[in-house]
């Protein structure tokens, strides 16, 4: 019998802690497959954030650090500066990256740190039980915006990819989605690009995944994807914001 699909080597044989229908597993798989394809597993260090993916340090089969809430890009900076011979990536959610860790992501990107940050945006705090995130949509109900996000009170959701795109240094910034098979295939291409540039020492690379949270949205997994397509994608437009390779004509 021929094996046609199996767990990537860069994922360990341990049980995920994600809810049924959660797309973190898909994002993990895309990263792990790419690590396998590039053969960098033995030479890579990753960082797990605080949030649902806090246990990512157990899932990826490379050396991993668990960072304080929001601090992953700073920890990544310390790791990359200490070991420039290794590939460093951080994996963060929207509360971690776009609220408590705003300074760290902006300045790591601004320095052009030679790291990759994978940003999973599902518009809610999952781990703590469905509180409002900096990316929660206008009027969206969460446990801390029970009457819906009031943009006059708490402001509008932050578009992180666009924000980072105002900086000079980043080499590659793309927003992708995990909401359909074609989108997931495109997402894989973005992961591959980001890690390729990382390996080549090109600088800071950033991939934002639009994802779902069936559990805390209270919507079943498939309908969650539809909900995200209808509500998140108009606000968080997919696309490549920065690709210096392309911009420089491949030079």
């Amino acid at each position: 019998m021929e094996i046609v699909a199996q767990r990537p080597k860069s994922l360990r044989d341990v049980q995920f802690t994600y809810c049924p229908g959660c797309l973190h597993g898909v994002a993990h798989r895309l990263i792990a497959e790419t690590m396998d394809e590039y053969g960098i597993r033995d030479n890579t260090m990753g960082i797990a954030p605080v949030g649902c993916s806090v246990f990512a340090y157990k899932f990826f089969d490379c050396d991993m650090a668990q960072a304080a809430h929001g601090r992953a890009p700073a920890v990544a900076t310390g790791m990359k500066r200490a070991r420039p011979d290794m590939v460093v990536f951080a994996y963060q959610g929207d509360g971690d990256l776009a609220a408590i860790g705003t300074a760290e992501i902006v300045h790591a990107a601004n320095r052009g740190e030679n790291i990759t940050v994978f940003f999973v945006n599902n518009a809610i705090y999952g781990m703590t039980g469905g509180q409002m995130a900096p990316t929660t949509l206008p009027n969206m109900k969460t446990t801390t915006s029970p009457y819906g996000r009031d943009v006059n009170d708490i402001g509008y959701p932050i578009r992180v990819s666009e924000l980072l795109n105002t900086l000079e240094a980043p080499y590659y910034i793309e927003r992708v989605s995990l909401l359909s098979v074609p989108d997931t295939i495109k997402a894989k291409q973005a992961v591959k690009k980001a890690l390729k540039y990382n390996i080549e020492g090109k600088g800071f690379t950033f991939v934002e995944f639009i994802s779902t949270c069936p559990t805390n949205w209270g919507i079943d997994p498939n309908k969650s994807k539809d909900w995200a397509k209808e509500n998140m994608l108009p606000y968080f437009k997919l696309g490549c914001f920065r690709d210096k390779e392309k911009d420089n004509g491949g030079k």
């Binding site: 490379c62 668990q66 960072a67 700073a74 200490a82 760290e104």
Partner: protein
């Protein structure tokens, strides 16, 4: 030992850290430690080291976490308000058992306080500061030479116990110039070897090394039973440190002592001057100076109380912090008195002498 040169404490400790093999330094500017960060900015590129001015003290300490997780000798420095910001990261460093060195050039507080020397961060440094049960090894220098010597000592202790080490200095030691001599610089090969001692647990490539590993730098243990074990293991380590690493200086301690003084850091220099003056007037006064303020020399202080000692007096540049540890050490044997000075003002030898004379 090289020839002595005249240097500020802030610069001397930076130079000594580089010589001790520190090749990564992350910090944020703050007075009165600016000479330290500036010295590192100038000198790190010359040894192919990393100098990085972080966007905040919070980021700086987390960069330390990342680099220490790779087993490298890494340092940060700040002054009191900045050290408060680092406390989150320090707790994580302790929880994940990462060797690292943190320098606090203390200034007056609370809040923004001022930029003059103070010792108001004693509680923060020795009793916690960050969340959870953890200990820092805390070294308190009282001269520029000792400040510099403690850099290599701090890195050695950090490596030995896989624990963050703080050098608790102050604005006076940081800013004043004194003659200082330095140890030989470690070679690049020696520094490489120092890093390899941590390969069993730290992050490093799998290629080119022995068995394949998956090392995790982590302070999270979601299972209470596992966390309990982890914290109890930390406690064992802290007890070992208490057994092995207590350091103190005795100055003119004898059976003739009428008064025993206790002071750490820059305060001890002032107390020594007062003791010398009183000696000329025929009085025997002793001083115990804790050099490690954690682990604390409780027994040494208890033993130093001679038969004629009427009182123990503690001198600090705060409202009375270390005095609580001295009371524990003295345990009611004789009265414990205290003199403090706050606001960034340092007591004079005359003021200290006067305080001692009240009890003679």
């Amino acid at each position: 030992m090289s020839q002595k040169i005249l240097m500020k404490g802030n610069e001397a400790v930076a130079e000594a850290a580089i010589r001790a093999g520190c090749r990564l330094y992350f910090a944020y500017p703050i007075t009165p430690q600016s000479e330290l960060i500036e010295y590192m900015a100038k000198m790190m590129p010359k040894v192919n080291g990393t100098f990085l001015q972080a966007e905040s003290e919070v980021s700086a300490i987390n960069m330390v976490y990342g680099a220490a997780g790779c087993g490298k000798r890494v340092m940060t420095s700040s002054s009191s308000p900045g050290i408060s910001l680092k406390m989150e990261g320090i707790s994580y460093l302790a929880g994940a058992e990462l060797p690292s060195v943190i320098i606090n050039v203390q200034r007056g507080g609370p809040g923004l306080g001022d930029i003059q020397p103070a010792q108001g961060d004693y509680f923060q440094a020795t009793k916690g500061g960050g969340h959870g049960d953890y200990r820092l090894i805390v070294l308190a220098p009282n001269s520029v030479q000792e400040f510099a010597d403690m850099a290599s000592e701090a890195f050695d202790l950090a490596d030995k116990y896989r624990n963050p080490v703080m050098i608790l200095s102050d604005g006076l030691l940081g800013q004043m110039m004194e003659p200082v001599s330095f140890k030989e610089s470690k070679t690049d090969e020696e520094i490489e070897e120092l890093g390899k001692q941590h390969y069993e647990w730290c992050m490093h490539p799998n290629t080119g090394y022995t068995e394949r590993h998956h090392n995790e730098i982590n302070s999270l243990e979601i299972d209470p039973n596992v966390l309990e074990q982890h914290v109890l293991e930390l406690e064992k380590k802290y007890k070992l440190i208490e057994q092995n690493e207590i350091k103190y200086e005795e100055y003119k301690v004898s059976d003739d002592n009428e008064i025993l003084c206790v002071a750490f850091g820059i305060s001890s220099r002032v107390v020594k001057s007062a003791i010398n003056e009183l000696e000329k007037e025929g009085h025997s006064i002793g001083l115990v100076r804790p050099i490690t303020v954690w682990p604390y020399p409780y027994e040494a202080i208890a033993k130093a109380i001679g038969p004629k000692v009427k009182k123990v007096i503690v001198f600090e540049l705060n409202l009375g912090q270390m005095v609580e540890d001295v009371r524990l050490a003295v345990n009611g044997k004789v009265p414990v008195d205290f003199m403090g000075k706050v606001g960034g003002i340092v007591f004079t030898p005359a003021e200290v002498k006067e305080k001692i004379e009240e009890s003679l």
